[in-house]
């Protein structure tokens, strides 16, 4: 065997070994744990009032977050790509901020400005929306951390969208509105779906910011991740496992669905082939302002 092939094998083993140890083993551990008690136990654990309320709350909040994120994220992406205005580069850089800020710090920020001590907080409270230690806080925290996803997923596909496709539609008699519906939207749909689904999965798992903003009131503001934390601290691995696995399963399902939905039409290529051809999500400097 040539040294080249040996080298290749060595690298491959290293990569596979590392990934197995780091990612596969922990997964296996939790899978194993969930079967230890049996299916009935599993369902029982999820069915407790506290667990089920945590799950429902998490799914609800994540859903609302996803909808808002989809709407404003799309609008933001379109504005950032298509329009030129002062401060555009600033807004565009800001989008990456949630990636750089610790979630705990996010929680503190939101709790500070939307809490009962500020004008904004009081004004909202009068309007019936309390942020701190209440449900709206959960949504707000989730919104912050998932904000970049839709925008960053849409930007590259919007930029790739050739003007020519729209112009051709015009020459074939389509009005600007029809063109938007029948040409633009279908072209960017994969990007949009990716952003939306990733938002949902991320929101499901958020912990640090929610723990600060919404606190830990069982049945009221306790999301799944906080519930799991509680169970761990109380030395109740069963409870922790069941809810964890449930959340994991939903996440995998959602991502699997995304994979199916965003395949190029008529193709059976797995996602990572396309993902590896995807351009880095960014605005080229020449396009800024």
């Amino acid at each position: 065997m040539s040294t080249h092939t040996l080298l290749q094998l060595a690298l491959r083993s290293a990569a596979v070994g590392y990934v197995s140890l780091l990612i596969l083993f922990p997964l296996a551990a939790i899978a194993h744990q969930s079967f230890v008690g049996g299916i009935d136990h599993f369902i029982q654990d999820i069915g407790t009032p506290q667990a089920s309320s945590a799950l429902v709350l998490t799914l609800e909040a994540a859903f609302i977050t996803t909808v808002i994120n989809a709407l404003f994220g799309t609008l933001s992406a379109i504005v950032l790509v298509r329009y030129e205005f002062p401060g555009r580069w600033f807004l565009n850089a800001l989008v990456d901020l949630p990636f750089a800020i610790p979630t705990l710090v996010t929680g503190l920020m939101i709790a500070a400005i939307y809490g009962p001590t500020t004008i904004l907080g009081m004004w909202l409270q009068q309007g019936g929306v309390t942020v701190l230690y209440h449900k709206p806080g959960i949504v707000l925290a989730m919104l912050f951390v998932t904000m970049p996803f839709t925008i960053r997923s849409l930007q590259p596909v919007l930029m790739e969208l050739e003007r020519e496709q729209e112009e051709v539609a015009f020459t074939l008699g389509a009005s600007p509105w029809t063109t938007f519906l029948k040409v633009t939207v279908p072209s960017v749909l994969p990007g949009l779906l990716t952003g939306v689904f990733l938002t949902f999965v991320r929101a499901l798992g958020e912990f640090g910011s929610i723990v600060i903003v919404a606190g830990n009131i069982p049945m009221k503001t306790q999301v799944a991740s906080v519930y799991v934390y509680g169970e761990i601290e109380s030395y109740n691995p069963q409870g922790a496992t069941s809810v964890s696995v449930f959340i994991l399963l939903i996440s995998f399902l959602v991502l699997g669905l995304l994979e199916r939905l965003t395949r190029p039409p008529g193709e059976r290529m797995p996602r990572w082939f396309r993902w590896s051809k995807r351009p880095l999500p960014m605005i080229r400097p020449s396009e800024i302002g």
Binding site: V168, F170, T171, L172, G173, A174, S175, P186, S187, G266
Partner: protein
């Protein structure tokens, strides 16, 4: 006249892309818009399509002034260089797009699309998506799509720019046959002069936003109206000299110039085909040395150097070449059998060649 363009101008910011272009296109013509990048040819095409609005001038299609008519209402077909196929639709759906917009009945759509699929030899790929097609197939789909709603005019922007040389050749021939069959008035833009010559019934040559010449391929080739056209179309030997005593002498070459006043600086152009070369030093009047031989497949190109250091290009067909045994470095004789004086803008240019001595002696074959 199918299309009439009068005094068309277009400015992009401070750039004058098109200045004062006027021409007419007959019904059923296949017209080539030829020129280098930045010459304005694509802009003119897009102006006719309605994808740009003119800064000045008028455009008439079928006798009607269309300046204020939107793209959607002009009933034109447009084909882009990079196809611009709808990636999320199948071949069938792409072609049917325009028909759906115009609210054709499903049965009619079926029929029309089937007709075009057959015409374009695309039957087999009806249900495929653009990314599953070859470059040639994609282009044919793009053309079929634009033809489906029966446009009165077909506009093509560098339609064969994005495919391989071989495929390009096939597509060219195919386009000619298609045009013969359908007889839709077509304008296409290209920077490839061979393509323009081969495909077009008439050619318009553009340069820097202006119309340089309009004519048949033969006219444009044999009788270039300006220096630009002469240089752009085909290879050309171009020499500069001054008229003295009704003659332009360049080196030992003399070009009679009976109609040009003395002391005018002129450019003399002659095609390589009109430079006759022989290995017999007495056959022709002018002596030279053979510097390079290039084999072009269909003919040979010879580069010869005159006594004064002028490099001229000559073209010789294979039969003739084989009669001689020409070698690089060999002394030859040559003559120029046809030439033209090229009109220039403004006065003489500074010549980069060594100063030409005037000599005497008429040209003979």
């Amino acid at each position: 006249m199918k299309i009439k363009v009068r005094g068309l101008t277009k400015q992009f910011g401070s750039v004058q892309a098109v200045s004062g272009v006027s021409f007419q296109v007959k019904e059923g013509e296949l017209l080539g818009l030829l020129g280098p990048s930045g010459s304005g040819k694509t802009t003119v095409l897009r102006l006719i399509a309605g994808l740009e609005t003119p800064s000045g001038g008028d455009i008439y299609i079928d006798g009607k002034r269309v300046n204020d008519l939107s793209v959607q209402d002009r009933n034109i077909g447009f084909v882009f260089q990079h196809y611009a196929l709808f990636k999320h639709l199948t071949v069938f759906e792409n072609i049917a797009f325009g028909l759906k917009i115009k609210k054709w009945k499903p049965a009619e759509i079926e029929q029309r699309v089937a007709e075009l699929l057959r015409l374009m030899s695309l039957d087999a790929v009806e249900h495929r998506y653009p990314h599953q097609l070859s470059g040639g197939q994609r282009q044919r789909v793009a053309i079929a799509r634009s033809l489906a709603p029966r446009p009165s005019v077909l506009l093509l922007d560098e339609p064969f720019g994005a495919v391989d040389a071989k495929v390009r050749q096939e597509l060219r021939e195919w386009l000619i046959r298609l045009h013969d069959r359908l007889n839709v008035t077509s304008l296409f833009v290209t920077h490839d002069q061979e393509e323009a010559m081969e495909v077009s019934g008439r050619i318009i040559v553009f340069s820097k936003g202006k119309l340089e010449q309009i004519g048949s391929p033969a006219e444009v080739y044999e009788e270039p109206a300006t220096e630009f056209v002469a240089r752009f179309i085909g290879a050309m030997n171009i020499l500069e000299g001054q008229v003295l005593n009704g003659v332009v002498k360049i080196g030992s070459l003399e070009f009679p110039a009976p109609n040009i006043p003395d002391h005018v600086q002129v450019q003399v152009g002659f095609r390589p085909y009109y430079v006759k070369v022989s290995e017999d030093p007495r056959r022709y009047r002018q002596p030279a040395t053979l510097r390079h031989i290039y084999f072009l497949g269909v003919a040979y190109r010879l580069e010869i150097e005159t006594g004064e250091g002028l490099i001229l290009r000559s073209r010789m067909n294979k039969e003739e070449f084989r009669q001689y045994r020409l070698e690089v470095g060999q002394p030859v004789s040559f003559a120029v059998t046809h030439f033209r004086f090229l009109p220039q803008e403004g006065m003489a240019f500074p010549s980069s060649a060594p100063p030409q001595l005037l000599d005497a002696g008429p040209l003979t074959l």
